[in-house]
C-alpha cells in the first residue's frame, strides 16, 4: 500500500536530477574536461614517435626492479595515468615501484617506414638501456598493453637471455585468426593494404577509430544519452569524459608497421604459427622463460577473448599465470573495475618478483 508515496519520492528524485542535468549540462558543454596525465614525471627519451617517461617516486623505499610499460601503438599512454585517484601509475608508485612508461607520439610523415623491427629491436631496447642506466639495475619488468603487449612479447622472445626479469601482458592478441569482424573486414581477397599504405603513408587515425567504432556501431550514441541521464552524477561524468577523450585521441599507425600487422598477423597469423620473423630471427614465444602474467578481459571487443586466451599455453615459462577478469578492453586497465581487480592483482604478482 506504499505505492503512492514511493511514486512521489521517485518523481521528486527525477525532478531534482532533471534540474541538476540542466545546470551541470551547461558546465559540461563549456568546460574542457578534467586534466589527465598529471602524476609528476620526467621525459627521459624523446625520439620521433617514441617518448619515455620516468615517473617520480612517491615513497622513500622502492622495489629493486623497475617497471617499464609499453603502451599500445594506437592510443596515448595517459590511460595509465587518467586522473588523480584513477591512475594506475600513481597506484604503483604508492605501492613502491619505480615506473617508466613508453608512450607513442603520432608518427611523422618520414616515420611511415617504421617496422616491427624498429619497435622491437630499437625502441624498446633503447628504453630498457635508459631504464638500466637511470635505475642502476640490470633487470626490468616489462608490462605491455594490447599491441604494446605484442611488442613486449616479441622483444622478450628475441631477448630470452635478458634483461627482462618479469613479463606481464594485458589483453594481448596471439591467435589473430580469432579476431571475428576484423578478420572479415581484413579479408585478403578484398582488403588492399598496399594501396592504403602506399597512398596514405601512415594509416590515418580516423580509419582506425572508425573501425573500432564499427565494432559497436550504436554504443557511442548510447553513451551520449547515458551521460545526459547521469549528468547529475559528477563522478560518472568525470570518468566518462576522461575515457571519451582518450578514445577520441587515436593515433595514426606507421605505414610499414601497419602493412606488417595486416599481412603477417591478420592474413598469415604468423605469431601464432611460429613463422613470424623479425630482423631475420624467428619469434618463438616458447623461448620466453621468465615469470609471465597475462590478464585478459571476458568481454573484450577489441582484442577478443578467443584471440588472447591461448598465449599462456605457448609461453615457455614455468612460472606463468592467466587472469581472466570481468570487463572490457579498456575497463580492464582503467576505471573502477581496474582499481578493484587488475591493479591489486598485478601488485600481488609483481611484488615478490621485484625485490
Amino acid at each position: 500500500m506504499s505505492g503512492a508515496p514511493d511514486l512521489l519520492e521517485r518523481l521528486q528524485v527525477e525532478v531534482e536530477r532533471a534540474r541538476e542535468r540542466n545546470i551541470k549540462g551547461w558546465n559540461y558543454l563549456v568546460s574542457s574536461g578534467p586534466p589527465r596525465g598529471v602524476t609528476p614525471k620526467d621525459v627521459v627519451l624523446n625520439r620521433g614517435t617514441l617518448s619515455l617517461y620516468h615517473y617520480r617516486p612517491q615513497v622513500s623505499e622502492v622495489y629493486r626492479t623497475p617497471i617499464l610499460f609499453v603502451m599500445a601503438t594506437t592510443n596515448r599512454g595517459y590511460i595509465f595515468d587518467l586522473a588523480p585517484g584513477q591512475s594506475f601509475v600513481e597506484f604503483l608508485l604508492k605501492r613502491g615501484y619505480d615506473v617508466y612508461v613508453i608512450d607513442w607520439n603520432p608518427p611523422r610523415d618520414d616515420e611511415c617506414r617504421l617496422r616491427f623491427e624498429d619497435y622491437v629491436l630499437d625502441f624498446i631496447p633503447s628504453c630498457v638501456a635508459e631504464v638500466q642506466e637511470r635505475s642502476g639495475e640490470r633487470e626490468v619488468s616489462l608490462v605491455g598493453y594490447c599491441m604494446g603487449g605484442v611488442l613486449a612479447l616479441i622483444h622478450a622472445a628475441l631477448h630470452a637471455d635478458g634483461p627482462v626479469r618479469n613479463l606481464a601482458c594485458f589483453t594481448t592478441p596471439f591467435d589473430w585468426s580469432k579476431y571475428g569482424l576484423f578478420n572479415r573486414w581484413a579479408d585478403p581477397r578484398h582488403f588492399d593494404v598496399d594501396t592504403i599504405v602506399d597512398t596514405f603513408g601512415n594509416l590515418p587515425a580516423d580509419l582506425i577509430s572508425t573501425s573500432f567504432e564499427m565494432l559497436r556501431p550504436v554504443s557511442k550514441a548510447v553513451g551520449q544519452v547515458q551521460v545526459w541521464d547521469n549528468m547529475w552524477n559528477d563522478e560518472f561524468v568525470k570518468s566518462y569524459r576522461a575515457f571519451d577523450r582518450w578514445g577520441a585521441e587515436t593515433l595514426p599507425l606507421a605505414g610499414e608497421y601497419f602493412r606488417q600487422i595486416v599481412k603477417e598477423l591478420f592474413f598469415a597469423n604468423k605469431l601464432y604459427t611460429g613463422e613470424l620473423e623479425i630482423g631475420g630471427r624467428r619469434v618463438d614465444v616458447g623461448a620466453i622463460k621468465v615469470p609471465f602474467l597475462h590478464a585478459i578481459a571476458e568481454h573484450d571487443h577489441i582484442a577478443p577473448f578467443e584471440a588472447t586466451r591461448e598465449l599462456i599455453e605457448r609461453v615457455g615459462s614455468t612460472d606463468k599465470e592467466q587472469l581472466v577478469l570481468k570487463g572490457g578492453h579498456v575497463s580492464l586497465i582503467a576505471g573502477p573495475n581496474a582499481v578493484r581487480r587488475l591493479w591489486p592483482r598485478l601488485d600481488a604478482w609483481l611484488a615478490p618478483r621485484s625485490a
Binding site: S2, G3, D6, L7, R10, E14, D42, G48, H54, R56, P57, V59, S60, E61, V62, Y63, R64, G96, D98, R108, D109, D110, R134, S135, G136, E137, G180, L181, R184, W185, D187, R189, H190, F191, D192, T195, I196, T199, F200, L207, M214, L215, R216, P217, V218, S219, V222, V225, Q226, D229, A351, P352, S354, A355
Partner: protein, 126 residues
C-alpha cells in the same frame, strides 16, 4: 510497487537492451562478405582519389614554383636532424666549459632516488 513506478529505470534497461540488440544486428550485417567487399572497394576508391588529388596539386604547385608537402616534409626531417645535432653540441659545449673551469659537468635536474630495498608485505612482516 516501487519497481513498477520506476519508469526511468525501465527506460534505462530498454536502452541497454536496444544497444545490445542493435549492435548485434549491425555486426551480423557487416560480417558478411558483400559488406567487406563493398567497404574495401570504397576505401580503395577513396585512396585512389586522394592520390590523384595529391598528384594534381603537386603539378599545380610545381607550375607556380611553390614548395609541395613533400618538400616541407624533407625540410622538416632535415631540421629535426639539425636540431638533434645542435642539442648534442650544446651538451658537449656545456661539458667542455665546465671542465675548462675546473668544475664538474652540470648535473641533471634532481630526481628523488629512493633506496631500492623494498620487500613484499609478507617478507616485511616476517
Amino acid at each position: 510497487m516501487a519497481g513498477t513506478a520506476d519508469f526511468m529505470q525501465l527506460w534505462r534497461e530498454a536502452l541497454q537492451k536496444w544497444e545490445r540488440q542493435t549492435n548485434e544486428a549491425l555486426n551480423a550485417a557487416s560480417g558478411d562478405e558483400a559488406f567487406s567487399r563493398a567497404m574495401n572497394q570504397s576505401m580503395a576508391a577513396m585512396a585512389r582519389l586522394q592520390a590523384l588529388q595529391g598528384e594534381a596539386i603537386e603539378r599545380a604547385l610545381t607550375r607556380h614554383n611553390l614548395p609541395s608537402r613533400a618538400d616541407f616534409r624533407e625540410l622538416g626531417s632535415r631540421l629535426d636532424s639539425i636540431e638533434a645535432q645542435l642539442s648534442e653540441l650544446n651538451r658537449l659545449f656545456g661539458e667542455i666549459v665546465s671542465v675548462a673551469r675546473g668544475a664538474a659537468p652540470p648535473a641533471a635536474p634532481p630526481v628523488p632516488r629512493p633506496a631500492r630495498t623494498r620487500k613484499p608485505p609478507q617478507d616485511a612482516a616476517s
